[in-house]
Symmetry: D5
Amino acid sequence: MLFHVEMTVKLPPSMPAEQASEIKAKEKAYAQELQRQGKWRHLWRVAGSYANVSLFDVQDNAELQDLISNLPLFPYMEISVKPLCRHPSSIREDDS
Amino acid sequence: MLFHVEMTVKLPPSMPAEQASEIKAKEKAYAQELQRQGKWRHLWRVAGSYANVSLFDVQDNAELQDLISNLPLFPYMEISVKPLCRHPSSIREDDS
Amino acid sequence: MLFHVEMTVKLPPSMPAEQASEIKAKEKAYAQELQRQGKWRHLWRVAGSYANVSLFDVQDNAELQDLISNLPLFPYMEISVKPLCRHPSSIREDDS
Amino acid sequence: MLFHVEMTVKLPPSMPAEQASEIKAKEKAYAQELQRQGKWRHLWRVAGSYANVSLFDVQDNAELQDLISNLPLFPYMEISVKPLCRHPSSIREDDS
Amino acid sequence: MLFHVEMTVKLPPSMPAEQASEIKAKEKAYAQELQRQGKWRHLWRVAGSYANVSLFDVQDNAELQDLISNLPLFPYMEISVKPLCRHPSSIREDDS
Amino acid sequence: MLFHVEMTVKLPPSMPAEQASEIKAKEKAYAQELQRQGKWRHLWRVAGSYANVSLFDVQDNAELQDLISNLPLFPYMEISVKPLCRHPSSIREDDS
Amino acid sequence: MLFHVEMTVKLPPSMPAEQASEIKAKEKAYAQELQRQGKWRHLWRVAGSYANVSLFDVQDNAELQDLISNLPLFPYMEISVKPLCRHPSSIREDDS
Amino acid sequence: MLFHVEMTVKLPPSMPAEQASEIKAKEKAYAQELQRQGKWRHLWRVAGSYANVSLFDVQDNAELQDLISNLPLFPYMEISVKPLCRHPSSIREDDS
Amino acid sequence: MLFHVEMTVKLPPSMPAEQASEIKAKEKAYAQELQRQGKWRHLWRVAGSYANVSLFDVQDNAELQDLISNLPLFPYMEISVKPLCRHPSSIREDDS
Amino acid sequence: MLFHVEMTVKLPPSMPAEQASEIKAKEKAYAQELQRQGKWRHLWRVAGSYANVSLFDVQDNAELQDLISNLPLFPYMEISVKPLCRHPSSIREDDS
């Protein structure tokens, strides 16, 4: 089941550089592990911003909540979620 | 080059049903043709709405404008566009 | 799987009273049938408005889209959707 | 009498982890006590967020204010309130 | 129990003047009857607008919905509702 | 002359509790003094919030500015002001 | 007593040109009469728009409501009002 | 003197196609004439929309108002204006 | 050439009182000097706020930027600017 | 390929003056280097603000992201991006 997720990172200017680097490294490892598991199906940068557009493929709402709330950057992001489903005009069987 | 496009359809209530059906049929054919050409890479319905989230893969901004402004439903949609690029944490070579 | 749905009805002032009555009657029958099936779990009026707050219990996003897009008032409503899941502080096993 | 309440938690990044844990534990105990009393009738997590949707069942506006303003997280939340009442299409006698 | 209600009138420009006059006359009679009953406790014009600020004194949310949804101008107004209660700094016993 | 004033308190989380208590005590004394003078005619709590709805009765705009800008909580509040006048449907001579 | 008033004209596209001309002529005459009386103290066009910024000098809120609600274009304008008073840094005695 | 102008075209769906074509042709001729005069310095399409971003080079605010309010599409556009000036980091002498 | 400028002051709560007083004194001196020069033509307080509405009379956009960016409170204000010109219904030759 | 970029600088008030100066100097050098390379085609100050309007001319979205995310002020700016293309009414061959 697909969800469209937009994340905008807002790190507080007072966060020490070392702490920021550590969180970002954990975020990257976590994001890549979820991609390998097929749960984070797409991950794009929005050009000109510190934001991404993502597609999650999960069992249900509870798994979505579990995956997102464990993002290392979760406390520092504005996140919006939209449930998706197959579009009647889509020609791809494997894209919903 | 990828663009994230959200489209929300707002047909005027006064449009005759026959005219609406005709425009929607043209829209569907057009959308499927662009998908077959690889230019309209993803097309998802936003659940609970008359809206979609799409990914376009185009040569440049001019082609994006050309494809979108020729949508049969173009005069009846609210459309927002975001340029996308590869995310540094993405593990997929073929997704940007 | 639960979804939180808010619906605000915006009938065009030009709609004849008879047509409005007919659509509302169909909407009521449809809403009551979905409640009997357990898919429309809660339905409340927002006091002082022509709007409701609803809880849907569906298999997946596709079923949510199917149920909502078939609402007789669908073309005349502003609808917003939020996916829900169990809250860690909830004491009810049967409410998510 | 039912009220629809949405709460979004915004803890300041500078709050020490121990203090945050303590407040959250108090919040959880308080929320569960109100649920046992039947005053906090529903409590759901909004998937992908640090927010909840709740239904309160209170005597009057004054009790609503009393219950909400005593939430341990009250100073750190954005809260919106909507009065609810029975929907004419609801089939449940016990849900308003 | 008090509710704060703001109403902004948006009559469609296409409404015939006679019909508008008739609705406004009914609205005035209805508003004055509710004031005499003590249910519509205050009614002020917002200077420079076709809007009012009102205080309703009702038994519960259901009565509020009943009174507001029967306003002759209801289909032509934007309405926002806020539940009120006694302020701890108020010196008036009879104002909540 | 009546003005409708909404005030939402936003105390910075870093303010020491003692300082907050002192400001609130001064605010309460000031609010009660203005009520006794008849200048702060109504004061209601918005249920579920740290906000109030108030009615001021002043000589002119300058007095309104004087009263509001001297509120002890003035630097910590979001305040919106609307001028009011008698509504043509009001039945009360003494309420404008 | 001064009020800052912004007016944006939104004539419905379906209004016949003759009717529009007639309303605009009445509006102009009315605006000039109020200026001659000293009640409409300033009237500026916002460059690049069909909007104005105005300063009204009135006895009280009731007179403001009377003057604005009688504007021939009143049903076709979005209007916002702000009460003004003397600024402590102003050097002009005659400008408040 | 430069002004940044954004224009979004909102033609009413009920406008006959012939009338729309005529207005658009006049708009094009007008826009090209102003470009030749050097007053409409830049004109870009916002990709994926029926909108443009423009730079006007005018004597003063009055000329800006004159040029914009005479656009054939003026009654059918949402227009926003920002005054521009030389940026201290600009390396171009001829671009402000 | 006239510009309409609205300024809302947002001093950070952490600013020491002495520093705030010093900046405000400089702002007052600066504002009065510009008024004496005729460049800051009007300055009004918005009643019930820490905000002003001002009219600047400048040679061009560059001078406007110069005057505003040198305000001592500039880093602590939200500022919005609108270019003004003579309104066709204005009866004053000396007010644009 | 052209992109329209608006940047608004929001330096935290707590940033030491020396650090701010250093970042601004780096930003200026970076902006001028990109202008010399032809990638930052236009750079204007929005009069009365700490903001700019810019035109970037880049190979693709990825280069846009690269240039913007390396701005020394990037962590302290609100940035919005719009893809541009040739307008059908433009008379300039060299402006898209």
